[in-house]
Amino acid sequence: MALLQISEPGESTPPHQHRLAVGIDLGTTNSLVATVRNSIPSVIDDAEGRSLLPSVVRYLAGGAVEVGYDAQKHQSIDPRNTIVSVKRFMGRSRSDVLHIESMPYDFVERADNAPGMLQIRTVAGPRSPVEVSAEILKVLRLRAEDALGGELVGAVVTVPAYFDDAQRQATKDAARLAGVNVLRLLNEPTAAAIAYGLDQAAEGTYAVYDLGGGTFDISILRLSKGVFEVLSTGGDSALGGDDFDHRLFCWIIEQARLLPLSPHDARSLMVKAREVKERLSAEPDLRTNAVLSTGEVVDLPTTSREFAQMTQPLVEKTLTACRRALSDAGLKPQQIDGVVMVGGATRMPHVRKAVAGFFGQTPLTNIDPDKVVALGAAMQANLLAGNRAAGDDWLLLDVIPLSLGLETMGGLVEKIIPRNSTIPVVRAQDFTTFRDGQTAMAIHVVQGERELVSDCRSLARFELRGIPPMAAGSARIRVTFTVDADGLLSVAAREMGSGIEAAITVKPSYGLTDDEIARMLEESFGAAGQDLEVRALREQQVEAQRLLEATLAALATDGDLLSAEERNAVERLLADVSARLPGSDLTALRSASEALVEGTDEFASRRMNRSIRAALAGRNVEELAR
């Protein structure tokens, strides 16, 4: 199995040890999977030679699921069970979703204000957006495994840069449900910048304008020798090509004076609107024709000028975000060396024109805007899997898109980590008690730029209990925010006097609980006739084997960092894992592995220290040589 081949990070692996890794662009309209073969990134096509997989999932009675073109074909005849643009629902409740009234789905009713992601009632039962997305990811995983002839070590899955914590967590959960090991969640514009930067050997400051089916991102990056540094990012996670379709759809209804539409007609007309939008990119003047189930005939002259006019407010919104991202990066439009266009919606001529006008230059479109994100993700996956040689690699420094903070007195937000902070980031702030003898403190974590809690997204609430009773203002509660390299937040709180700790990994209130994920996993394995336990044991064995080999390699190169006694302790832990590896006791193997991880923490730390010293020593020598 490919996972067993271990190398030091940054070290090259011989060609025969190439580890299979892919990049997945999980898009609103279409999804793609790409990989790097013989140093060349390419999109993996399906059996019929098609690159794109329409992000459409249809549930059928009896448990069958159609994904992609098959589902898309049936969207008008079976709109209730055919989910399109599910990405817009990820990590969202019903009240978060725009134009929900014109959607043909049967949403599961929840009690007023009940937190939680929306669900759609289908013929196969209620489905969450995470499950729907997992169906798409599963098809892409199988496509890649077939094409590459083996199991994947992992995937880089892309998300809009402007996705908040709930949306990122939902994406990671979907991957987990689809049996995809996520090497990293990567921001879409950053992925595009990798593909462009490496392909064109670009240096300088670039703007990536990414208008997808349902999301808009603008990222400002600095590219210099092997470093991709995101300076700022902005956008709107609910603005995309779909909204242009929707404007046109409303315009058609208005112009043709149509009565309230059946779900069937609404879907057909939406499909028609998208078609007209796409045609308008090539023909400035055409007619919109449709026949409804009521027999009503629509026949409207439609011009690209009118279309540009009715969608101008949407384009303006994107330019506003561009202006803010530039100002956050401390730059003016003329300081941008190149503008990269990403996403199918950037094919609209009036969008290109507006972007060209804003930045004062013709945007770059030489890589297919539909594929560039998947290609960049594949390159990053190849790097993370350890398939590239040291010196032949690059470094990615990305940021969080939205500020993270806590609710304080009076419903105000205290920002702990400001937007555009480079990740990973850890930051702590001290708070105190408000009343005498207060023994608990409620902690409410929010994300957003506004001053008022009610204007921000609520991510989690938890409570620190068991604070020793003290006078008001004398307890010191340190709240630590940690954002990892995937952009996912965890929060811990500790009373500094007594050391009582309450810690949680933020599971946004819109996300799924671990129990829900476990149930979904059970169900999906049940349906596939696989045994979850067997799979879990095998995964743990692979992980343990990997751990063994990596630890042995570390001992071989840096064993001198340990005393004889420390080395013995590590070797005992190694022997323990080895002894349990062939067995079938999952719990014992897991705890032996965990003990080894724990027992090598300090060792890993010392090795890191040595590595940093080496890096800086190298720099000083270079400087002397100059």
């Binding site: 990070p9 940054g10 580890r19 070590v153 992992g154 090497l183 990293r184 092997g226 470093v227 506003t320 202006r323 803010r324 100002s327 990053q380 790097l383 993370l384 899997a385 350890g386 470094l395 990615l396 420094l397 902070s421 480079t422 990740i423 990973p424 980031v425 850890v426 930051r427 730029e449 506004r450 940690t482 990892d484 390299a485 990997r546 751990l547 990596a550 630890t551 991880v597 724990e598 090598t600 923490d601 060792f603 890993a604 730390s605 890191m608 590595s611 940093i612 080496a614 890096a615 800086l616 190298g618 720099r619 000083n620 400087e623």
Partner: protein, 180 residues
């Protein structure tokens, strides 16, 4: 973690005057060794340690890169906290200057005077440069961290006020946009 040594992490001398290019280069050299992307297929211990070190490097870089944060950090390391919230005492001259700037901003806002705002922005950035020079003198030449802390508080005011001026200019340039 009272005072993690940000300068030592990047092998830079602990003083206010900074070779920015050397900082950038050292930061990238450290990140290219410790970033979690280097250990995406490493062990859980390696991934955890990588995440801690990379976060530390980001924090150190952020602190040293900004003159205000760097000066505040040097003062704190020398045992002189900035106490921006509790210590609001400012020299009378600076307070007068503040009031004058405030009035200029209000007037320019009311008169929708873009040129006035630009002029104000220019004088703010001059005042900022001057303060940074004074801070360098206080810390590097005289090792007077108490004086430096007072100057840092002035710098904090100037940077905050500068943001307000920029925001006002932004509102004049794009009046219809809602602001976060």
């Amino acid at each position: 973690m009272s005072h993690p040594d940000h300068f030592a992490l990047f092998a830079l001398p602990a003083r206010f005057a900074l070779d920015e290019a050397a900082l950038d280069e050292a930061y990238k050299a450290v990140q290219s060794r410790v970033h979690p992307d280097r250990f995406a297929s490493g062990t859980a211990a390696e991934r955890r340690v990588a995440m801690q070190w990379a976060a530390r490097a980001n924090e150190a870089y952020r602190t040293l890169k900004s003159p205000r944060a760097r000066a505040a950090y040097l003062c704190e390391c020398a045992g002189v906290p900035i106490q921006a919230e509790s210590n609001t005492a400012m020299p009378a001259g600076f307070l007068m200057q503040q009031m004058e700037w405030r009035e200029l901003l209000d007037d320019a806002r009311r008169a929708r005077d873009t040129d006035g705002l630009v002029a104000l922005e220019t004088s703010m950035s001059r005042a900022r440069d001057r303060l940074i020079g004074d801070i360098a003198g206080a810390i590097d030449q005289r090792a007077d961290h108490i004086a430096a802390a007072g100057l840092v508080r002035q710098l904090m005011f100037i940077e905050k006020f500068g943001d307000e001026v920029r925001m006002a200019a932004d509102v004049l340039a794009h009046p219809r946009e809602a602001r976060a």
